[in-house]
Symmetry: C2
Subunit: 587 residues, 2 copies
């Protein structure tokens, strides 16, 4: 019977995983390594013999493990936290990821590996491991120190960039080439998709969850959460992104729900079950021969991970204005690779573009760097003191001056508020425009289906296109109007700041008004042109466009207030969810 | 890719199940029916089309659902509760199960179904549904009334008997025949296995769980629990019992652990996930045609379930000494079939001994009786009043006299304590003898392997057998001695009670001593003869047996006190676990 061999596999996995992890926990080593070792022990490559019969089903469940891992990562992620992390997080994360992808690529090329292997190696080395770091800092009782907070900030930015890396690598793996234009187009589409998914998701999902939660049935809430999770993953797959991305996004959306704590409590056992299977499945893949054969690359890559991450993250933290000691501690804390690397390595294998040795190599490097992390964190403090003693005084003075200079260029007093205001307005404009672009892209995407529905009523193809295009415009109007109003506010602000009376003299007021009127109109015109380009396939003839434009103008004139009200209501709902969902949980 | 079609299946299952159950919950219907309907909707037999691609994997996960359902049933089960339920539970459960199996068999024969179908139909009708009853009583806010407590008692006994039914049906399905001797042998072996598993399990498992729990990691506790669960299921399968039995038993063992509440909290989401898949998978199997074709049997069986269960359970409750109103309420509460029936129907399908129509018929009957249960409970009270009015006065007086008579034969005062003492001693003797029998059976089972180990040291086959048999005797000695001592205590008690001075006169003391000495010795001799019969395959020659007996006598003489100490320590450990595990959780 099929089921019994499968239960036997599960029994073996759970029993061996349980025993090894108890041992690992007893000797204060990360449980994840225990799982991988358990997989290695029961795997086909170690004596006495392969204990797993139904490898296909185990692999399927391991993929569920990845989904649940990323979903829970999303649940722990928080947009609010992302807005709050400081410059340190962004600078360090960008530096680290950029450097490590390059280092990975160069190492791959040095060992004569294929371009795809080298590229995936770069991806594998790029992202540090949240679980390992949290575990290590918890063990060392350093979770609440300043450098730990900085590390968590870097990890949040890394999550988002990691999602981007996964999307990019999938795209490149499918198309087989790396072109700058394509990279930009992929990143652009991905950002667009993420913004739209987050806005729409945060408007709908927490409300649905609140409705279900009022029945006070854990079972129903869990089933709803899992239904949304898998459903969204499926949608994402249909859009040709990775399922992993979908799991993370829907997790991040649910993180804004008021039921977050309850959801985490319900999903955690499920995640633990499947992620254990995932990590054991990783161990199953390890061939001792491969490890021996690739001992040299493993050593080089391990060294590169530790040195590269310490340097890039420390430098990033320092450049963003932290003192040397804190910077070094941040760098040393982030010097390992973990679950993201496994996911990227698994991606390469699933897409069949990487060689089989890459996975075990990644696992080996992750194991070594995981074990070294606690020691590195502990050694950071004495090392920074010794470094301070070694550095020539003149260099130290330059470092000190950099810190002073950085503080001097920070906006002060009123300017801090102004900068925050401008940032907020730009963000709002960006989100509104992203929604508009998404509406037009979606209309173009579904044009065929829509036209088929319209066909019995409207025979002429041009008219069909006109209706679809006009419909898209109508739906976008609230967002276009909002974007226009925010643009106007922004340009007034900029005119006030940019056109100073001491330069423009008695024309000040007039110049300011021209600037304040011109910028939004020009930008809107630019946006409309862009939209036309994006929706080229459903663009009707010029005459029809003029008609549509006139109609739109009439609609705008008539319903201006109503559009503003609709948009404001949505914005308020979004903001309420973002702010409410967090507070009761202490996030 | 395999995984994507699987995720798609999961997404469809969870989404549809989520939506339907929200609707069902909204209209206060059992969620389980919602799942089944969801499965029916997405199944291959309903338009628009089959939405499930990877049916094999879904079926495997559904089997996991059964395991988790039974495991959680075991967690909610409690030996202590079983000891506490009164006569009502036993009488009602035995009457109900006996009658329903017979009714099921007769109905099957009436419709000309095969013997195996008829027998499984009996099994399907035998056991009521715990989840449905708890749900219905909760909705009606009657959980704390006396008749509800009686119902829960019946359900606990039914769980144990249900496990027996599953084991019996599996045995019969494999062998193809029903013989009284075989039934007794199956029941005997099953009871033996359950006693040994419970004793050994309760000695070991709660200690292991307490050790793991001290690491305060939910993940490790969950993995350990699942490892034990699947591992035990595997062991049970190797012993040719059903996995379902294993899951229930290990659940009942863990129910005695102090970590019960934590374990339930961790396992519940996993159970909800997989049991949802199980119930949806049931719905997938429903063919509307079958329901139409078998409308007549479905109607008959539904009527039989309701009438049969109401009569048998009410009668059982009444015979055990409850008043008419309470008895009727107990009967009406138990008048449905549910998850156990699905499991038995699934067993028949997996073993390929039942026809395909049996499953949908069981589902249909369960659906109808589930829906009728709340109405029946509500109608019980008015009905009992009306019945009281209808019944002729003379019959009513007979009923009243029965109650008086029953109360008169209950042990009173000192006799209550005496009866409790005798019951306890008999239980202890039974458990010790069961362990001894199990040790000898296990030695006989593993004799081949053991002999192979012994071969290099002991060449002669007879000597090998002697060593194995002697070893088994040595290991059993603590239990044999304990059984002997309890037998002696029992016979002293019986001699005291049975040999009254008014009958035996001046010989009283001597007769009592003879009785007190003779009974244990005769029983022990009988037990040893039984053991020899059971271990016939490893019995050495008579000369060797005499040698072994002499050796054993010497060992007993030397280590008498030590054996007693070892046994007492084990008994204390067992009792401590049984008593401690319960209290902090308010069971």
């Amino acid at each position: 019977m099929h089921a019994i061999s499968f239960i036997q596999d599960l029994a073996v996995i759970m029993l061996v995983a349980g025993m090894v992890t108890i041992l690992f926990h007893r000797f204060k080593q990360p449980v994840v390594l225990g799982y991988i070792l358990a997989g290695f022990i029961i795997g086909p490559h170690t004596p006495p013999f392969g204990l797993i019969h139904d490898e296909q089903t185990i692999k399927t469940l391991a993929e569920l493990g990845v989904i649940f891992l990323m979903f829970c990562l999303g649940l722990e992620f928080s947009l609010r936290k992302l807005f709050k992390v400081g410059a340190t997080a962004f600078v360090a994360a960008f530096l680290e990821i950029g450097l490590m992808i390059w280092v990975g690529w160069e190492i791959g090329q040095f060992f004569g590996w294929s371009n795809m292997d080298s590229l995936f190696l770069g991806g594998i080395l790029a992202i540090s491991s949240t679980t390992i770091i949290i575990k290590a800092l918890g063990d060392l009782k350093m979770k609440n120190e300043r450098f730990a907070q900085l590390i968590f900030g870097v990890l949040i930015v890394e999550d988002i960039l990691g999602i981007g890396i996964i999307a990019l690598l999938s795209g490149i793996a499918v198309s087989g080439t790396v072109e700058t234009g394509e990279v930009f187009s992929t990143v652009g589409k991905l950002s667009l998709f993420m913004i739209v998914a987050l806005v729409v998701g945060i408007l709908l999902v927490p409300r649905l969850l609140a409705y279900v939660a009022q029945f006070e049935s854990n079972e129903m809430l869990l089933i709803t959460v899992l239904g949304l999770c898998f459903g969204f993953c499926l949608l994402v797959v249909k859009l040709e992104y990775s399922m992993v991305l979908g799991a993370f996004l829907i997790g991040a959306i649910m993180a804004e729900s008021r039921q977050l704590v309850q959801i985490e409590r319900l999903v955690e056992p499920v995640r633990d079950l499947f992620s254990a299977i995932f990590f054991v499945a990783i161990g199953l893949l390890i061939e001792p021969q491969v490890l021996v054969e690739y001992a040299w690359p493993i050593a080089v890559i391990t060294l590169a991970v530790i040195v590269g991450k310490v340097i890039s993250c420390s430098l990033g933290a320092f450049l963003a204005g932290n003192d040397g000691r804190t910077s070094l501690r941040v760098g040393m804390g982030l010097s390992q690779i973990g679950e993201f690397s496994f996911i990227i390595a698994a991606l390469g294998m699933t897409l069949q573009v990487t060689s089989t040795f890459l996975y075990p190599v990644a696992v080996a490097v992750s194991a070594i760097t995981t074990l070294s992390t606690p020691y590195l964190i502990r050694v950071a403090d004495p090392l920074s003191q010794r470094l301070a003693g070694w550095i020539p005084e003149r260099v130290a003075r330059v470092f000190g001056l950099y810190g002073d200079w950085l503080r001097s260029i920070q906006p002060q007093g009123q300017n801090v508020m102004l900068a925050a205001m401008i940032r907020k307005i730009v963000l709002q404009i960006g989100i509104n425009l992203a929604l508009v672009v998404a509406i037009f892209l979606a209309s173009a995407w579904f044009a065929g289906t829509l036209a088929a529905y319209l066909a019995p009523w409207v025979a002429q193809e041009n008219l069909q296109k006109g209706l679809i295009w006009g419909g898209a415009l109508l739906v976008s109007l609230p967002f276009l109007i909002a974007a226009y109003r925010k643009l106007k506010a922004l340009s007034m602000l900029l005119a006030e700041l940019g056109v100073r009376p001491e330069k423009a003299g008695r024309h000040t007021v007039r110049v300011r008004r021209v600037v304040a009127e011109l910028i939004p109109l020009l930008s809107l015109a630019g946006i409309l042109l862009l939209l036309m380009g994006l929706s080229a396939s459903i663009l009707p003839t010029l005459e029809l466009l003029v008609v549509i434009a006139l109609l739109a103008a009439a609609v705008i004139a008539l319903l201006w207030r109503w559009f503003i009200r609709v948009h404001t209501r949505m914005q308020v709902a979004l903001m309420e969810t973002l702010e409410h969902g967090q507070e009761p949980n202490g996030h």
